[in-house]
Amino acid sequence: MNDKIYRVILFIAALIVPTVCGGVIYALVTDAYDAFEYFGFFKFLTSSEWSYTEGAEQYGALPFITGTLMTTLLALVFCIPFSLPVALFVGEYFKGTKIAAVLSTVTDLLAGIPSIIYGLWGFYTLRPIIMALDISEQGSGILTASLVLAIMIIPYAASLSAEFIKMVPNDLKEGAYSLGATRAEVIRKVVFPVAGSGIFSSYVLAIGRALGETMTVTMLIGNTNNIPDSITSTGNSMASIIANQFGEADGLRLSSLIAIGLILFLITAAINMVGKIMIKRARIS
């Protein structure tokens, strides 16, 4: 009897998540339909116009797709030199020691800081530095947003990579040592090849996090609806245009914003899927 009740409860609980997800997709698709129908799916993806003029409204997602991809990729580039050493430190060099535990806790703490705090820090601390260094005149832009994003995704990349590095079998490493390999050689020739797809997937998941980040990016990217022509110029990401304009939008603009939401949803889902597949592969090998 008890078993049956448990099964029903579990079944219902398990059903809720796919239902919610299905509902989200349904709502996004139906509300975005107007924009896709009016502009055409590919035209919407490739148009760089974002013009409010009544009667001649033109909305295209290209500037925001570009903005999102630029900030995310740059954030990834900036994040690697910080997260990879942390992962090696925790997972290999000081594996199981107290100092590694402290370091990994501190890194994980970074993930718990609300994004508005990162945004404010970026706005009041990093942005003036960028202006003072004359990197860009107005301080805001792709670069500023990417730098803060990089810090935000370090914990996601570092802690998962560390797990995969820890999982590298000792037999393999000892074998390499017994052949006279140095530590650096072991890391390069044994740890990275074995944990490689796992590390790769942890970065993919970090990218997924950076793609959807809204508050921080909105505060730092400059919010202009153009395709950024350099890494210091201002732009807008898919999440930030939605955050900026959703409150006031209606009609075609609202539908276009939801269409951008749908595209972001699809990109994030695809990237997460790639990450999951890579993790699976890492486990099998």
Partner: protein
């Protein structure tokens, strides 16, 4: 442990007692909770007024500063008691929803806040502002700027215009003014809550723009006056239609409304031709439905809504305007509004006698 438990219980009891208090108002009806949403521009004024109103009348008012357009959308979806807006509804917008009335609550100004080292007095004209935001005047030491600012050392630096990234009543007032004074602006950009500014950077909300201007050298942005005052950012004096260089003050803002006001109070007072008028002045409105019985609202809630509006139009509340850097309504606007409030009904019968 027991001690902690008992103190927690006391706290909970206290909260329950406060929230269920339901202290009766002067008219003997139960205290209501009103909700509104809209413009951030008058938010600092509303915060003070709502607090006073709660003390006088016992009704609590929650107001979400989500922007004028958002407020109007909430009203159209019938989920708020009133919407706050810096832009009055157009005839087309009015025809899309049930009958509404506009009640002006106070007057404010859009000021041009700037951040320039060593400059603490800047004069601008409508033409110059339009050319700066259109990207035609790119440098601070431009000849035309210098001509209006004799004796001021303007730096040879690029101008960074700052504008709103979200749709906004403030943007509407600002671009409405530019459309009136600059044919170039009218043709290329027009007036609206969202406008395609060609250069510079954007920030969300009045506080966002004020924050960016304060943090960015050589920038200039348009913000609701209160936000520039509160953050102690320098703002420009502006040449009005009569050629006077005017600083935004309670007096110069009120002067802009000395002309004719239509019966429904929907009018733009930018670029006023009155003497001493600050040219980018505006009313800010609360918008309510003429028929108050919607979305299962009780009559008491409708009465409370009207009480709130009457309170805002009263001398007590209007006195607060200048304390928080807005300007009081002219008599004419108050008279018209009180008359309009009498037309508000519940189930078809007038609420106020």
């Amino acid at each position: 442990m027991k001690k902690i438990f008992s103190s927690v219980m006391t706290l909970i009891l206290a909260i329950v007692a406060v929230s269920c208090g339901g202290n009766a108002t002067s008219e003997g009806r139960k205290a209501q909770e009103l909700s509104g949403a809209g413009a951030t521009f008058p938010l600092p004024f509303y915060n003070v007024v709502f607090e006073e109103f709660a003390q006088v009348n016992g009704d609590a008012v929650a107001y979400g500063g989500i922007g004028s357009g958002g407020g109007v959308r909430n009203l159209r979806d019938k989920i708020v008691d009133f919407a706050g807006s810096d832009a009055f509804l157009s005839d087309k917008e009015m025809s899309d929803m049930n009958a509404v009335i506009h009640v002006p609550t106070c007057m404010g100004a859009v000021v041009l806040a700037y951040n320039l080292d060593g400059v603490n007095n800047l004069n601008l004209s409508g033409d110059l502002i339009a050319d700066i935001f259109a990207g035609n005047i790119k440098m601070w030491n431009d000849e035309r700027l210098a001509a209006l600012n004799p004796g001021v050392e303007l730096p040879a630096e690029a101008i960074i215009p700052v504008f709103r990234s979200d749709g906004s009543g403030t943007t509407f007032v600002f671009t409405d003014y530019l459309t009136k004074v600059s044919p170039m602006w009218k043709e290329k950009f027009g007036a609206g809550k969202s406008v395609n500014f060609p250069s510079g950077q954007a920030a969300k909300g009045n506080p966002g723009v004020a924050g960016v201007v304060k943090q960015t050298k050589n920038s200039i942005g348009y913000v609701g006056s209160e936000y520039a005052f509160a953050q102690k950012i320098a703002y420009a004096k502006i040449q009005n239609q009569r050629g006077e260089i005017v600083e935004p003050t309670a007096a110069s803002i009120s002067a802009a409304a000395s002309g004719e006001i239509p019966a429904d109070t929907r009018c733009s007072i930018t670029n006023s031709d009155a003497a001493g008028a600050y040219p980018i002045s505006t009313f800010t409105w609360m918008i309510i439905y003429k028929e108050q019985n919607y979305s299962d609202r009780s009559k008491e809630q409708a009465v409370a809504t009207l009480d709130l509006l009457q309170y805002i139009l009263s001398d007590d509340a209007q006195k607060i305007t200048s304390e928080v850097h807005y300007a009081p309504l002219p008599e004419k606007a108050k008279e018209l509004s009180l008359k309009n409030l009498k037309t508000v009904t519940f189930d078809g019968t007038a609420i106020l006698q």
